[in-house]
Symmetry: C2
Amino acid sequence: MDAIDYQIMRELQLNAKISMKELASKVFLSSPAVIERVKKLEENGTIKGYQTLIDPEKLDKAITAIVLFETTKCKELYAFCENHPDVLECYRVAGQISYIAKVCTESVHTLEKFIDESMKYGSPSTNIVLSSQENMQIKLTDKLLNQG
Amino acid sequence: MDAIDYQIMRELQLNAKISMKELASKVFLSSPAVIERVKKLEENGTIKGYQTLIDPEKLDKAITAIVLFETTKCKELYAFCENHPDVLECYRVAGQISYIAKVCTESVHTLEKFIDESMKYGSPSTNIVLSSQENMQIKLTDKLLNQG
DNA sequence: ATTGAAACGCCAGAAAC
DNA sequence: GTTTCTGGCGTTTCAAT
């Protein structure tokens, strides 16, 4: 895992569908060499997959909320969140609270419904997202790229 | 935006690098027709991009934390988070708290450093992630696919 | 106007060096 | 890691509905 691998990951993170040829020219290598490196990154699990980013608002999911839970029923809450179509991410955490869910839904009414249902499993505290900055899985900064 | 578009998005979300030919066979259309649909979804912004998923742990970013802030200096905090290499996501929210950041870092020591620095901009409450479920931007359930 | 069919050009993967 | 080569895919064009 050297600096070139980091550069490759940065380019792939910006655009998963970049051609191996173009990627090769960006890192000053031949394309078979780049294909080899990408393959290794896939095999050792560093690259977990390639995903298409969809804009929730275009699908009429206008409201995003971060819901914090105080609960002792983590397993039940986990199952509820996993099966709920509006929960995009959820985290079991150690801290003031014990569970966090990111919900993306149509309206305040569907959000209300979610909150009501979730109350079976814990005490929710809802925070509606006003604006957000969602970048990437990892920020591959120049510093990281240079240190290798 | 019909049921076929939803199906296309689901497949693309699962695997951004699927070939148009294979995608076409999955939705029972010809490949030019699918290419046309994908192009439209890209142009109207429904498809925001194609991203490669990187495993932070493989890059020695062992600790993920959700940090909640009570603050009145949202703009300053926003700028701090945007420029910080360990902040992967941040949200301005309306609720009990006013700002949420997702941090991915090497160790408790680098996390401590982040917390100390962030205290200039607000009062942080740190929740270390024990386990998580991060699926996708949108859950395209069967219900949604059928209703069109 | 929208869909299916064929031809072109380009890329990914394999083999040889 | 590089160059060469080949098979296959994406893309464009055209014909037909």
